[in-house]
């Protein structure tokens, strides 16, 4: 446990990637199995369970520390694990501390097999026996919140380097291919990396393949988009998913590789390998059945085997009713039907297509699509465009759409093979114009992490009957300089304080950009914005000229 805590502490403060991978490689070469495998899991975020809940940490510290002092400390530090790691002190009636800390593997196994009450005592004993940085590492590990500037991708790259240092001819692609088929504590993987064993066989397992991701399109790049080189598609407003159906099973993965099949039995349970067999890339959306003339309008999907029912993409808000539901009931499923819009295929009927070009993959996908029977599976068809002007008007079309079901455009190089990660110059996303309102800052709160010494989270409101009603919260969109100005303004214009929240003079207008707005009964204003961010700070604008709530309601 000491070595692990030291590793994450050093990684946290180290800025150069070279030094980071050196630290990790050194740790791997000096640490025995299974400890090092658990460390990989902790850093890569592949531990499958929490050792304890955040609530337990909060409860324990509340029993030990004066609540006022705790709140002030938390407000200052801005982060729970770190606050607790500094505040923690042994109590007289605690079980005795340990002379020597257990190994990482022992910690993992004890929490995994312990009952709740036992885990509580074990956690107390560990915390009592540790230094503040060790406590921090344990709390982060146990709640799976370890963020130390090492991405899963970077870790895999380091694992490949480690293998090369051991004399094995293994690339990061090799690691990627098997990564989702192996599990902590990664003994087989590490043996393979060190040249002591064959590559683990993952062909039979239903595994997630890391996705190909896009870059935002810049104005310069727009000029270089030619119809001969690029394919344009709508960017749908759902969640990115990967559908995997093989002889060994079937699963729906989120963009980060979480298995979300259990939330969508209406899709997964229907699928049969005789009709669908492969790995597909697409968007999960909520659908509204709708009887309509069959003429093509944007966002209305062609019906399948049914001449009457057409499906219209429903709002993201509707999709949210279905997300993170472990066991959705029949009523929820029938009220909020969902479907997939497929836009790429990584393998089809046993054939790996990742080395094929986009054009070839799209063609294979379209051919297969003609034969598939499921009414909830749709195809994203490439859009016609000739030049920059027609692209601009397509985007304008998305901007003008009343409902927000199309977020903008995707532009993909026709000759690009399917690569995991975010390769340069292959895929671009070009979002539609955001919606804008002028709102008034009402409250401010300190940020987290690097921003914990700044007031960087702002609650803003719109007018109704001469009063401001909060309509949302934003903590991004401004530059570092603007943050300093906003922070100073908040400090100079504070009129009240509620715990960590400062109430400010209702005098500063913020132009807020957002993607869409939805009805919400959780907010007093009755509306909720999606992705609100500060677009401009209107130092010039008087607060009484900010927007009224009705303006926002009209955008629903």
């Amino acid at each position: 446990m000491e070595a692990f805590a030291e590793l994450v502490d050093k990684l946290y403060f180290t800025s150069s990637n070279l030094a980071k991978s050196a630290l990790i490689k050194q740790y791997l070469s000096q640490t025995p199995d299974p400890d090092r495998g658990w460390a990989i899991a902790a850093i890569a975020g592949t531990l499958s369970f929490d050792f304890f809940k955040r609530k337990l940490i909060k409860d324990l510290i509340t029993e030990r520390v004066d609540p006022v002092l705790f709140d002030l400390s938390y407000d200052y530090v801005g982060e729970m694990s770190e606050t607790v790691s500094h505040l923690w002190q042994a109590q007289a009636d605690d079980p005795p501390g340990m002379k020597v800390l257990p190994s990482l593997a022992e910690v993992v196994n004890t929490f995994a097999n312990g009952k709740r009450a036992e885990n509580r005592n074990y956690l107390i004993t560990l915390l009592n026996s540790m230094s503040a940085p060790q406590r921090w590492a344990l709390l982060k590990l146990g709640t799976r919140g370890l963020r130390i500037g090492v991405s899963a991708r970077f870790l895999k790259k380091t694992l490949a380097e480690y293998a090369q240092d051991c004399g094995s001819d293994i690339s990061i692609e090799d690691v990627e291919r098997i990564w989702h088929g192996v599990a902590p504590p990664y003994k087989a993987l590490l043996a393979y990396l060190e040249g002591k064993a064959e590559a683990p066989d993952v062909s039979e397992s239903v595994t997630f393949q890391p996705l190909m991701l896009s870059h935002p399109l810049s104005d310069d790049e727009l000029q270089s988009i030619r119809a001969s080189d690029f394919q344009a598609e709508w960017k749908f407003d759902g969640i990115r998913v990967q559908l995997v159906v093989t002889s060994a099973g079937k699963a729906l993965f989120s963009r980060t590789g979480d298995d979300i099949s259990h939330s969508f039995p209406d899709i997964i349970d229907e699928l049969e390998t005789q009709h669908i067999y492969g790995v597909f890339d697409g968007e999960l959306v909520a659908l509204n059945p709708r009887v309509t003339d069959a003429h093509e309008i944007k966002g209305v999907l062609e019906a399948k085997n049914d001449n009457q029912t057409h499906y219209e993409i429903a709002s993201f808000n509707q999709l949210q009713q279905r997300l993170n539901k472990k066991k959705p009931g029949n009523k929820l499923i029938s009220n909020y039907p969902c479907g997939l819009i497929l836009y790429d295929v990584l393998s089809l009927e046993g054939k790996d297509l990742r080395e094929n070009t986009l054009v070839e993959r799209s063609k294979a996908l379209a051919n297969w699509f003609k034969t598939q029977p499921y009414h909830f599976i749709h195809l994203s068809r490439p859009l016609d465009f000739t030049d920059t002007h027609s692209l601009i008007s397509l985007r304008e079309e998305a901007t003008q759409l009343e409902q927000g079901y199309i977020e903008g455009l995707m532009l993909k190089r026709k000759d690009a093979v399917y690569v995991s990660g975010r390769p340069k110059g292959k895929w671009f996303k070009w979002k539609r114009d955001p919606r804008l309102i002028d709102a008034v800052m009402m409250y401010a709160q300190r940020g987290h992490g690097k921003r914990s010494s700044f007031y960087s989270d702002y609650t803003f409101g719109c007018w109704q009957d001469g009063k401001l009603l909060p309509v949302g919260k934003a903590y991004s969109g401004f530059t570092d300089d603007e943050l300093k100005q906003l922070d100073r303004w908040v400090r100079q214009n504070t009129i009240g304080r509620f715990g960590p929240v400062k109430e400010v003079e209702k005098a500063l207008v913020l132009e807020v950009a957002f993607d869409s707005v939805h009805p919400s009964n959780r907010h007093k204003s009755g509306v909720a914005m999606r992705f609100p961010r500060i677009h401009r700070i209107r130092w010039d604008k008087p607060a009484n000229e900010a927007d009224h709530l009705t303006t926002l309601q009209a955008m629903i």
């Binding site: 403060f13 800025s15 004066d66 200052y76 500094h86 503040a132 992490g449 690097k450 921003r451 010494s453």
Partner: protein, 335 residues
């Protein structure tokens, strides 16, 4: 007469009617009592300045000979009658020359502690506990999350890193007044006898410490080197502002360390881009603040600046009458 009747605060700072003087004022005033030489406490342009000889010396170095019209040295323990009250200075243990201002007026004693600490510091006499009616304290690190480890442990971390990365130039960010000299003293105490290299901004104050009998060993200005490459494996101290600027880019394979009490908080270390955070403070941590309140045991506690809300709450819990003065203008940075 209760000090509430003869002390007030305004935009210039804390004003004592009985002395007709401001203590550590923000703006030029007729009569100033200065607790110590940090720039946010000791500003130039006053008419009369009452301070310890060392503090006056520091002000002279920083602002030139005409930093005020009339400097009046106050040796520790020496009492002067000013206007209607008595003033004397008592060591505060913060930096060389730092003092608590003890004011006696009409059967009441108020102590303005200025910045102070209780951790041992060989560069200045230790904080002296003096009984009083009202104790005016700072609360820079006035939260229970702040626990400053012993300085030797932190300096050992630096020495360990120098042993591990023996070719890297270790650059330590430390404030010019107090922190820098304390880091050097701790290095010497742990047996680091090689020359220590200094950024130009630190030279004059190090010399001043040496003139005042604080032995710092061999110090070499970086500017005197023909080739900065010889600094591979050596130790350089610079003001924090120089850590990430052009100046530090000429150093070979820099490992950036930062010596400050704030380094305990991860986000603060990240802001400084410190790869080796050294938690070294010239202020009290939470337990030292509480220890001091208990030992001074005043009838009343006033808190000038910092995390005053938490310390006031804690003092009230301990049964003291306490309030926050919320003075503005004292920087968090020179810690």
């Amino acid at each position: 007469m209760h000090p509430e009747k003869w002390i007030k605060t305004d935009k210039t700072g804390l004003y004592c009617r009985a002395l007709d003087a401001y203590i550590d004022p923000m703006h030029p005033v007729k009569r100033a009592i200065i607790t110590h030489g940090h720039a946010d406490h000791a500003r130039p342009g006053h008419s009369e300045v009452y301070a310890t000889p060392q503090t006056l010396g520091i002000m002279r170095i920083r602002y030139g000979d005409d930093f005020c019209e009339k400097p009046i040295p106050m040796e520790y323990g020496q009492t002067r009658s000013i206007h209607k009250a008595q003033l004397h200075m008592v060591p505060a243990g913060h930096i060389l020359g730092s003092a608590q201002a003890v004011i006696d007026y009409k059967d009441y004693r108020l102590i303005l502690a200025g910045d102070y600490k209780r951790h041992p510091d060989p560069s200045c006499p230790p904080f002296e506990v003096t009984p009083c009616d009202v104790f005016v304290t700072e609360a820079t690190f006035g939260l229970p999350v702040f626990r400053h480890p012993p300085i030797n442990q932190q300096i050992q971390k630096l020495l360990d890193s120098m042993a591990l990365f023996e070719n890297r130039c270790h650059l330590v960010g430390a404030y010019a007044l107090g922190k820098c000299q304390r880091v050097i003293l701790a290095l010497r105490a742990l047996g680091y006898n090689k020359p220590i290299y200094l950024h130009g901004a630190l030279l004059r104050l190090c010399e001043f410490y040496q003139e005042n009998g604080v032995e710092l060993g061999e110090l070499i200005p970086v500017s005197e080197l023909d080739n900065p490459k010889v600094l591979a494996g050596e130790l350089v101290i610079a003001p924090p502002s120089a850590l990430n600027d052009r100046w530090s880019r000429k150093l070979p394979e820099v490992m950036t360390a930062m010596a400050s009490g704030w380094m305990q908080i991860r986000a603060r270390s990240k802001q400084r881009r410190a790869e080796l955070p050294l938690i070294i403070s010239d202020h009290c941590d939470w337990s030292e603040l509480i220890q001091t309140i208990k030992e001074v045991n005043p009838r009343e506690l006033w808190v000038t600046h910092g995390r005053e809300q938490a310390l006031v709450h804690q003092a009230q819990k301990m049964g003291y009458k306490a309030k926050a003065l919320s003075l503005v203008g004292y920087e968090e940075d020179e810690d």
